[in-house]
C-alpha cells in the first residue's frame, strides 16, 4: 500500500486535476500554501475553481498563470501592498482569460464551509442584507424568519474537492498540529472531500498523539502529506518563520504589467524545479532573517491519568 507521504509534484499531480475546486489560504494571511500553488502552476492546471477567504497574492498568481476559471472568495489582493494586478486584468479585460467571480464576505465564506462540514444545505445569517453581493449570486438565497418575517440570507454550503492546508507538523498519516490564527482551516478541511497537508516538519505519531486537542482535523480526511519546509514563504508560519514583507512589495511592483508578471513567474516558478530551487533564489541570509529570534514555548499540558 502506498503511503500518504509524497512529493508536492506527486500530490498536486494526483489530487488537483484540471477543473477541480481547491481551497487554499484558509488561515488568512499566514500559512498560505505558496509551494503548492507554484506546483499547480508548473503542472499547468486549468479551469480550477479557487476557494478561499482572502488569499493574499496566491490567487493572483494562479489567475495570472491561467490556472483558474472561477474564484469564490471574500477578497483577492495584496494585503500589505494593495490591489491584485492579475485579478484586475482578468476581471477588467479577460486577460489571460475570462474569470467568473463569486463574491463572498469573510463571514459568509466561513458559514458556507461550516455548512459543508456539517452536511447542512445552508446556514442562515443577517450579514450582507441590502448589499450588492446578494442579487444574482448562486451562493446566497434570500429568505425570511418564519415567525417574524424578518429578512434572512441563506448561505449555501460549499464542499471543495480538495483543501490544501499548510501546518507546522504532521505525522505520516496526516495527523497534524497547527497553531496560530486558524481562519477557516478547520471548517474548510472538514468541508472538503480530501485534504493535502503541507507540513514544515514530518514527525512521529507519538508526538502528534501526545496532544490530540492540537490536531487540526481527522487524518481520515487527509489524502496526501507533503513535507515542504518553508512551504508557506513569503507568508508566515508561527514558530518557524516570519512574513517576508519585501517579497510582497516586490511582487506588487513586478506584476503591474502582464509582461512583468510573466517574468516574475518565470523566475520564481516556471524556471524552478521545486521548492528547493525556489529557496535557492532568495537572497542570501533572507531565510535566516525570517527565522524566529526568540522561542516562546507554550506552557506544559498534562494528559496523564
Amino acid at each position: 500500500m502506498m503511503g500518504k507521504v509524497m512529493t508536492m509534484a506527486q500530490a498536486i499531480g494526483r489530487f488537483v486535476p484540471d477543473g477541480c475546486s481547491v481551497l487554499m489560504g484558509a488561515a488568512l494571511e499566514s500559512l498560505i500554501p505558496f509551494a503548492a500553488g507554484h506546483e499547480i502552476i508548473r503542472q499547468r492546471r486549468r479551469n480550477l475553481t479557487l476557494i478561499g477567504p482572502i488569499s493574499d497574492i496566491l490567487f493572483d498568481q494562479l489567475i495570472g498563470a491561467g490556472c483558474a476559471s472561477r474564484v469564490i472568495a471574500a477578497w483577492v489582493g495584496n494585503v500589505s501592498a494593495g490591489l491584485a494586478h492579475n485579478y484586475r486584468r482578468a476581471a477588467e479585460a479577460n486577460t489571460p482569460h475570462r474569470l467568473d467571480i463569486e463574491d463572498h464576505s469573510n463571514f459568509t465564506l466561513s458559514l458556507a464551509l461550516l455548512a459543508g462540514g456539517l452536511g447542512a444545505p445552508f446556514i442562515p445569517t443577517k450579514t450582507l442584507l441590502g448589499t450588492d453581493l446578494l442579487p444574482g449570486s448562486q451562493s446566497f438565497q434570500l429568505s425570511s424568519e418564519p415567525d417574524t418575517g424578518a429578512p434572512l440570507v441563506h448561505v449555501q454550503a460549499i464542499t471543495p474537492d480538495v483543501a490544501i492546508l499548510q501546518v507546522q507538523r504532521s505525522d505520516r498519516e496526516g495527523n497534524a498540529h497547527c497553531w496560530g490564527n486558524l481562519g477557516v482551516s478547520e471548517e474548510g478541511g472538514l468541508a472538503s472531500r480530501g485534504v493535502i497537508i503541507v507540513a514544515e516538519e514530518v514527525v512521529s505519531r507519538e508526538m502528534i498523539l501526545s496532544d490530540p486537542n492540537r490536531v487540526l482535523l481527522p487524518s481520515a480526511k487527509v489524502v496526501a502529506v507533503v513535507h515542504e519546509p518553508w512551504g508557506a514563504h513569503p507568508s508566515p508560519v508561527q514558530g518557524f518563520y516570519g512574513r517576508d514583507h519585501g517579497f510582497y512589495e516586490q511582487y506588487h511592483l513586478a506584476s503591474r504589467t502582464s509582461e512583468g508578471f510573466e517574468q516574475w513567474l518565470k523566475g520564481w516558478v516556471l524556471d524552478v524545479e521545486d521548492r528547493t530551487g525556489y529557496l535557492a533564489r532568495l537572497p542570501k541570509d533572507r531565510l535566516n532573517q525570517l527565522k524566529p529570534s526568540q522561542r516562546r514555548l507554550a506552557a506544559p499540558v498534562d494528559y496523564g491519568y
Partner: protein, 257 residues
C-alpha cells in the same frame, strides 16, 4: 506632511478614530490605521477595550511590533484567544461587538462603501479586492467607522456597488432590509470627519482637520455636502497620542504618506 503641521493627516485620522473607542468595548480591528487607533485608545482612555481580528485572534494588548497583516507572528503571540474566524464573526452577529472599523475605495452620501467593482459588475473599470470582513462589520457591528482618503472621485453621490452597507438610501433603510447593526457612526477622512443626520442618515461635515477649510472638504465631495452648524476644527492629536502612534509605527509605514 503639511508644512505648518507637526503631524500627518493619517495621524489625525488615527487620533480621531481612537477617540471613538470607548473603554471596555469589543472592537473589530482591521489593519493599518484602525490598528494604530486601537493601540492609542488602549493606552489613553480605553484600557479595557478588547480587539478582535477576523483571522481568528483576540487581544487585550496591542502587539508589541508594527504589523503588516493581522496574522503576523507578533499578533499571535500573546493573544488572549487564537481560534477560528467563525467564532469572532459569530460574536459580531450576536451583537457583542460594539465597534468596527473599515476602509473603502468609494463611499456615498449615505455611508455605503464600495470595495468591489468600479463601473459595471460585468465589465468593471476597476476590480477592487472585495469585502473581506468589511461587509460583515458594516452589517453587524453595533456601530462602525469608515476610514478613507478624501477625494472627489471617491466621495460619490451613489457608489457603483454596495459592498459594505451604510444607510442605503437613508432613513430607516437598514431596519427595512433587516440589518442588525446601527450603521456607520462616522467617516474619518484625510480632510475631516463626517457624521450622520439622525433622521435622514445623510453624511454631514462635523469637523475639518487642521489646515483644511470646510470649503475644501466640500470641493472634494461629489455631492452637495451638508455642513453641520456646529462644524469645527478637528482637535489635533495630542503629544501623548502622537507619541503612541510613532512608537507603534516608528518608520511611518502606515502614517506617513
Amino acid at each position: 506632511m503639511n508644512q505648518k503641521l507637526t503631524y500627518t493627516m493619517q495621524e489625525v485620522m488615527v487620533a480621531v478614530a481612537a477617540r471613538q473607542i470607548r473603554d471596555g468595548e469589543l472592537v473589530f480591528v482591521g489593519m493599518r490605521l484602525p490598528l494604530l487607533a486601537f493601540a492609542v485608545a488602549k493606552r489613553m482612555h480605553a484600557p479595557r477595550a478588547v480587539g478582535l481580528f477576523e483571522c481568528g485572534l483576540m487581544r487585550d494588548e496591542p502587539a508589541p511590533e508594527l504589523l503588516y497583516t493581522m496574522s503576523d507572528p507578533p499578533n499571535i503571540a500573546g493573544a488572549i484567544w487564537s481560534t477560528r474566524m467563525i467564532n469572532l464573526m459569530g460574536m459580531l452577529q450576536q451583537g457583542a461587538v460594539q465597534l468596527g472599523m473599515i476602509g473603502g475605495a468609494e463611499v456615498d452620501r449615505f455611508g455605503n462603501v464600495n470595495t468591489s467593482y468600479i463601473g459595471s459588475r460585468q465589465r468593471p473599470t476597476v476590480k477592487l479586492p472585495g469585502s473581506g470582513g468589511a461587509a460583515d462589520i458594516a452589517s453587524l457591528a453595533g456601530r462602525f467607522l469608515i476610514i478613507m482618503q478624501h477625494e472627489r472621485r471617491r466621495f460619490k453621490e451613489r457608489v457603483d456597488y454596495i459592498t459594505s452597507p451604510g444607510f442605503g438610501e437613508g432613513g430607516d433603510w437598514r431596519r427595512h432590509v433587516g440589518l442588525p447593526g446601527r450603521g456607520p457612526a462616522a467617516i474619518i477622512t484625510t480632510l475631516g470627519t463626517l457624521s450622520f443626520d439622525p433622521e435622514t442618515k445623510e453624511a454631514i461635515l462635523a469637523s475639518h482637520h487642521p489646515g483644511v477649510t470646510p470649503d475644501e472638504v466640500c470641493r472634494q465631495t461629489a455631492w452637495p455636502l451638508r455642513v453641520s452648524p456646529a462644524v469645527h476644527e478637528t482637535a489635533p492629536p495630542t503629544d501623548e497620542e502622537l507619541a503612541i502612534i510613532r512608537h507603534c509605527d516608528p518608520d511611518g509605514f502606515w502614517t506617513r504618506p
